[in-house]
Symmetry: C2
Subunit: 161 residues, 2 copies
DNA sequence: GCCTTATAGTTTCGGATGAAACCTTTTGCA
DNA sequence: TGCAAAAGGTTTCATCCGAAACTATAAGGC
């Protein structure tokens, strides 16, 4: 993890993170896509509504880190398949109020434990001490780390395409 | 990091990893897209050829974890922009032999240090001990962890759509 | 009370993506 | 040799995605 002077994809932290993350996500996604025809975005909406019923589309977007276009499309498909229902917020007719249908709840109740099982199996290769460090490192990288990255100035706008 | 019984996206490891990884990758990608009009896939091909000239398309795919369709398209665009050149492998006319052009090398020489700078800034929020743990955890999760995940059996094919 | 601005959500449009089909060359082997 | 199977790449097709434009409602200033 000491900085190499040469860029080597295999040792490059962002690349390694991306590979790890994508491989895990795809493994889980493959399952609920096969069983329920859910896309990743649809599953995320379902997951957050399973936990917090009554959110608006924008609130769903905030909790899932999806943009509102993606949420809008996922919501449209979930509505079409009658996995969620939508009503209008009393007092603000722009806002929607989203919640699972019984069918949506049934799917959530099947997929959520499976997602947790993937996480459990992944963590199972770590011992107690390693899990504590993992939590700490994730928190630090996601907090201070991302903040530092966002502060990196763009190069002095000299040469360009 | 102790297993919750309830699925909560904010605390779900795969989701957190995905968010961290995507945020970092996008920060870097934004820069070389703006400066050189490179897509992520094109940059990955350029990066691996900058380090290992003469690879074939399949070898590039292996080193970048991209599928061969994505490599084929990235290679086509890089050729069109004269950032790489392609010849045919002597002795196996199916294989291509890819390498950077001087222009491709020039771009590589500008982007690679910037990519490393993002990594450096990210790691800068960690102290020496934390970096050692990060390396260890990444290796373990990417190795044994992914292997364990891949071994998870699909649910007993009962109910489904 | 108007009128500008902001917010919730949808649609459009151009490009990116992956699975599967496809073409070409090579390999394995009877 | 001759031929089936495999491997390197490309194309097709259907889907997905995000930025920007758009509609409708609400909030704020005067």
């Amino acid at each position: 993890m000491s900085q190499p002077r040469q860029l080597d994809l295999e040792h490059f932290l962002p690349y390694r993170l991306s590979l790890l993350s994508n491989t895990i996500s795809q493994a889980i996604a493959r399952e609920y896509e096969a069983r329920f025809g859910l896309s990743v975005t649809e599953w995320r909406v379902l997951a957050v509504l399973g936990r917090y019923a009554g959110l608006s589309a924008v609130e769903v977007a905030e909790r899932t880190a999806m943009d509102k276009v993606a949420v809008s499309r996922a919501v449209a498909r979930l509505l079409a398949n009658e996995r969620i229902r939508r009503s209008v917020h009393s007092g603000d007719r722009r806002r929607s109020v989203l919640a699972l249908t019984p069918e949506g709840q049934r799917i959530y109740d099947q997929v959520a434990p499976r997602a947790l099982e993937y996480e459990r199996e992944l963590l199972h290769v770590l011992d107690a001490e390693e899990r504590i460090w993992l939590e700490r490192l994730l928190a630090k990288l996601s907090g201070d780390g991302l903040e530092a990255v966002r502060r990196i100035p763009l190069p002095h706008a000299g040469a360009a395409r």
